[in-house]
C-alpha cells in the first residue's frame, strides 16, 4: 500500500507542475498580464495576444504529451503499469 501512496504522491506532484504551466500560459500570460506583454512582439503578433490565441494552445498539447510520457515512466518505476500485451 505504501508503494501505491508514494506513486500517487509522485503523480500529484507532476500534476501540480503541469497545471501550474497550464495556468501561467493561459490565465496569466493570456488574460491577466496581457497588456504589459502586448508591448513585446512576435512577428506581427502582440505577445499577449499571441499567447491568448496561439501560444497557450501549443503549450497545452505539449503538456498533455509530457504528462503522458512522465506517467508511463512513473508506472514502470513503481511497478503499477499495465500488462504489456494490452
Amino acid at each position: 500500500m505504501d508503494k501505491h501512496q508514494a506513486y500517487w504522491k509522485a503523480n500529484l506532484r507532476l500534476m501540480a507542475i503541469c497545471l501550474s504551466i497550464w495556468f501561467v500560459v493561459s490565465f496569466l500570460f493570456g488574460i491577466i498580464l496581457v497588456e504589459p506583454l502586448n508591448n513585446f512582439h512576435l512577428g506581427g503578433y502582440k505577445l499577449g495576444f499571441w499567447f491568448a490565441q496561439q501560444g497557450s494552445i501549443y503549450t497545452f498539447v505539449v503538456l498533455v504529451f509530457f504528462y503522458s510520457y512522465r506517467m508511463n515512466k512513473l508506472d514502470k518505476e513503481f511497478g503499477v503499469h499495465e500488462d504489456e500485451e494490452k
Binding site: 503541469c18 493561459s26 503578433y45 499571441w50 490565441q53 497557450s56 498533455v64 504528462y67
Partner: protein, 580 residues
C-alpha cells in the same frame, strides 16, 4: 443546375455515402460494442474521433465568426475549449478508463453508492446533451437550406436519417469510425480555404504564420496592425486588444469553458473506448493535436475574414462601396436574411461604422464569416462545396456523440441500472437502439420547433457540465472522504446556483418575461456573464460538498475506499469493456 450546386451535391452526398459504408462495415453486435466500441479503439484514432465528436457546428461555423467580431475577446473560446483537455487528460480520463465501465452516471452512481446520485447525473447529462444537440440539428438544416436550397425541414430530415442509420446500426462502434472519417472531411474543408486566403493576403500558406506576417500588397504593414487601423478608423474597438467585458469576466469565462469541456459526458465517454489507461492518456494528447489543428487556424480565419469584409465594403478610407456594385456573395447572403443593408442616408453607398445611428450594415450574422469566406475571397467553387460538406460533418459527428450519450444513459443507467436490472444483454441492446431512435426524433422535433431555451444552449450545457458533472467526477477520484450525501448536496447546490444566475438573466427555461429579480443590474455578480458562471457553480459544488461532509462526518464504506485506491493505479486494468 449550376456548377457550384453540382459540386455541392457531389461533396455532400459523396461523404454521406462514405458514412453509410462505414456504418455497414462497423455494425455493433453486443452492448459493449454499442456503448464503448468493444474497448479496442487505437488511441490515435480515438483522438481523431474525439476531435470530430467535440468540434460541432459551433466550432466549425460560428467560432471564427465570433473571433472576427470580438477580436482579442474571442480568445476565451480558443483557450477555454482547448484548455479543458489538459484537465481531462490529468484529472479524469485515465481514472475513468481504469474504472472501465460504460457511462458517466454509472461511475457517479457506483462511486457514491447511490442511485439518487446516478439519477441526478443522468438528468444533468440529458439536459446538457439535448440542448446541445438542438444546435447541431439547426446547423444541419441551415447548411442544407443555404447550400442546396433545400427546404430547412427537409434538410433536417435528411440529416436525422443519416445519423439514425449509423448511430442505431453501429452504436459507439459505428459512430467512432464515421467520426474518424468526418474529422478528415471537416479539417480538410476548414484548412483549404484558410490556406488560400492566407496565401492571398500575406503570401504565406500557413495561416498561423500568415496571421503574424506582413501583407502581400506591398505596404509592408503587418496584417494585424492593418486590421487594427481599419476597424478603429470606423469607430470599432481595436481588434487585438478588445476585451470581452472585464479581465475578471474573461478569466471566469475561460475557466468555465475549460471545466465545462472536461465535464461534458459525450467527450468523456470516448475515453472508455481505448484499450488501456496508457491509451487514455495519450489519446487525450492526440485529441488535442487534432483539435488544435482547427483551433489555431480559426483566429487566422476570423481576422482575415474581417479584413476582407472591411476591404470589400470600404476599399479605401472614406470611400464606401456603391450598393449597386456589391459583389455576388453579398447578394447571395442577402437572400438568406443573414446580411442586411439599409440605406439610411440615401446616398446609395454602404456606410459600415460602429455608430449604430449611422451604420447601414444593419445585420452581419457572424455565422456567415466561415460560410461566405471562400466566396468573399473569390475561391473556386469546389472549395465552397467542400465547406458545405465540412459543416455537415461537424454537425453530424457531434450530434451522433450526444445522442449516444443520451441513449446509453437511458438504456444502461435508468433501465438496466435502476428500474429493470434483470433484463438480458440482448434486451438492453434493443432498448438502447429504441432510446437512440426516440432521442433522434425528439432532437429533430426540437430542431424544427426550437424552444425558447435553444438560444441559451451553450450557457446551459456548459454550466451544467461545469457545476455538476465535473466536480462530482473529480471529487470521486481525488477526495476519498466525500460520501453520497455530500456529493448529492454539492451537485444540487452547484446546479441550483448556476441555473439561478442563468435564469435570472434569461428567464426561466429562457422564456422571456420570467426573469425574476428582473430589476437587478445585468451581470450583477461582479460583472460576470451568465455564460461564464459555470466556474462559480463548480466552486459552490466543491464548497458545499466538503462542508456537508465535514458537518455530518460521513465516510464512504470500506469497499468504496478500496475502489478509489484501485482506480488510482493503472495495473490490473479490467477487461470489463469487452463485456463478453
Amino acid at each position: 443546375m449550376d456548377e457550384l450546386k453540382l459540386y455541392t451535391y457531389i461533396a455532400v452526398f459523396g461523404t454521406f455515402g462514405l458514412y453509410f459504408a462505414i456504418a455497414w462495415w462497423a455494425r455493433a453486435g453486443s452492448t459493449s460494442e454499442f456503448y464503448v466500441a468493444g474497448g479496442g479503439v487505437h488511441p490515435i484514432l480515438n483522438g481523431m474521433a474525439i476531435g470530430a465528436d467535440w468540434m460541432s457546428a459551433a466550432s466549425f461555423i460560428s467560432m471564427a465568426g465570433l473571433i472576427a467580431f470580438l477580436g482579442y475577446g474571442g480568445s476565451v473560446f480558443l483557450m477555454g475549449w482547448t484548455g479543458g483537455y489538459v484537465l481531462l487528460a490529468m484529472l479524469l480520463a485515465p481514472y475513468l478508463r481504469k474504472y472501465g465501465k460504460f457511462t458517466v452516471p454509472e461511475f457517479i452512481g457506483d462511486r457514491y453508492y447511490s442511485n439518487i446520485a446516478r439519477v441526478v447525473a443522468v438528468l444533468c447529462l440529458i439536459i446538457a446533451s439535448l440542448t446541445y444537440v438542438i444546435g447541431q440539428m439547426k446547423g444541419v438544416g441551415v447548411a442544407f437550406s443555404r447550400f442546396l436550397e433545400v427546404d430547412y425541414g427537409l434538410g433536417l430530415g435528411i440529416g436525422m436519417f443519416v445519423v439514425w442509420v449509423y448511430a442505431v446500426l453501429g452504436g459507439m462502434k459505428g459512430i467512432t469510425y464515421t467520426q474518424i472519417a468526418q474529422y478528415c472531411v471537416l479539417i480538410f474543408a476548414y484548412t483549404v480555404p484558410a490556406v488560400f486566403i492566407s496565401l492571398h493576403l500575406t503570401g504565406n500558406p500557413i495561416p498561423q504564420i500568415g496571421l503574424g506576417s506582413t501583407l502581400a500588397d506591398g505596404s509592408g504593414m503587418y496584417l494585424l496592425d492593418k486590421l487594427d487601423l481599419v476597424v478603429t478608423d470606423l469607430g470599432f474597438k481595436e481588434y487585438t486588444t478588445a476585451k470581452l467585458g472585464s479581465t475578471l469576466n474573461m478569466f471566469m469565462y475561460t475557466l468555465s469553458l475549460m471545466i465545462g469541456t472536461a465535464g461534458l459526458p459525450h467527450v468523456i465517454m470516448r475515453f472508455f473506448t481505448v484499450p488501456s489507461v496508457k491509451g487514455a492518456r495519450s489519446s487525450a494528447g492526440w485529441a488535442l493535436i487534432f483539435i488544435a489543428a482547427l483551433y489555431t487556424v480559426a483566429p487566422a480565419v476570423g481576422a482575415m475574414a474581417r479584413l476582407n469584409l472591411m476591404n470589400t465594403i470600404q476599399p479605401a478610407a472614406s470611400e464606401s462601396l456603391e450598393y449597386e456594385q456589391r459583389p455576388q456573395w453579398f447578394k447571395n447572403w442577402e437572400t438568406t436574411g443573414l446580411l442586411k443593408f439599409e440605406d439610411k442616408n440615401g446616398d446609395g453607398k454602404i456606410t459600415y461604422v460602429a455608430d449604430k445611428e449611422k451604420n447601414e450594415m444593419v445585420k452581419v450574422d457572424r455565422d456567415i464569416m466561415v460560410l461566405a469566406n471562400p466566396e468573399i475571397a473569390n475561391l473556386p467553387n469546389w472549395v465552397i462545396a467542400l465547406v458545405a460538406a465540412g459543416g455537415l460533418a461537424a454537425a453530424l459527428s457531434t450530434a451522433a456523440g450526444l445522442l449516444l450519450a443520451i441513449a446509453s444513459s437511458i438504456s444502461h443507467d435508468l433501465l438496466k441500472g435502476v428500474f429493470r436490472p434483470d433484463i438480458t444483454e440482448r434486451t438492453e441492446l434493443r432498448a438502447s437502439r429504441v432510446a437512440m431512435t426516440v432521442s433522434i426524433l425528439i432532437a429533430g422535433y426540437l430542431g424544427l420547433n426550437p424552444p425558447g431555451f435553444a438560444a441559451g444552449t451553450v450557457a446551459l450545457a456548459f454550466g451544467l457540465a461545469a457545476s455538476s458533472i465535473f466536480p462530482a467526477l473529480m471529487m470521486g477520484i481525488f477526495a476519498k472522504s466525500i460520501g453520497s450525501k455530500a456529493a448529492v448536496a454539492g451537485m444540487l447546490a452547484g446546479i441550483g446556483m448556476t441555473l439561478l444566475y442563468i435564469f435570472q438573466h434569461e428567464g426561466i427555461m429562457f422564456i422571456k418575461g420570467t426573469a425574476f429579480l428582473g430589476d437587478m443590474a445585468r451581470n450583477w455578480f461582479f460583472g460576470i456573464d451568465p455564460k461564464a458562471f459555470g466556474a462559480v457553480g463548480a466552486m459552490v459544488n466543491f464548497t458545499v460538498a466538503f462542508a456537508v461532509s465535514r458537518i455530518i462526518n460521513e465516510r464512504p464504506p470500506e469497499n468504496i475506499q478500496r475502489m478509489i485506491e484501485d482506480i488510482r493505479i493503472p495495473s490490473g486494468s479490467p477487461e470489463a469493456a469487452t463485456g463478453h
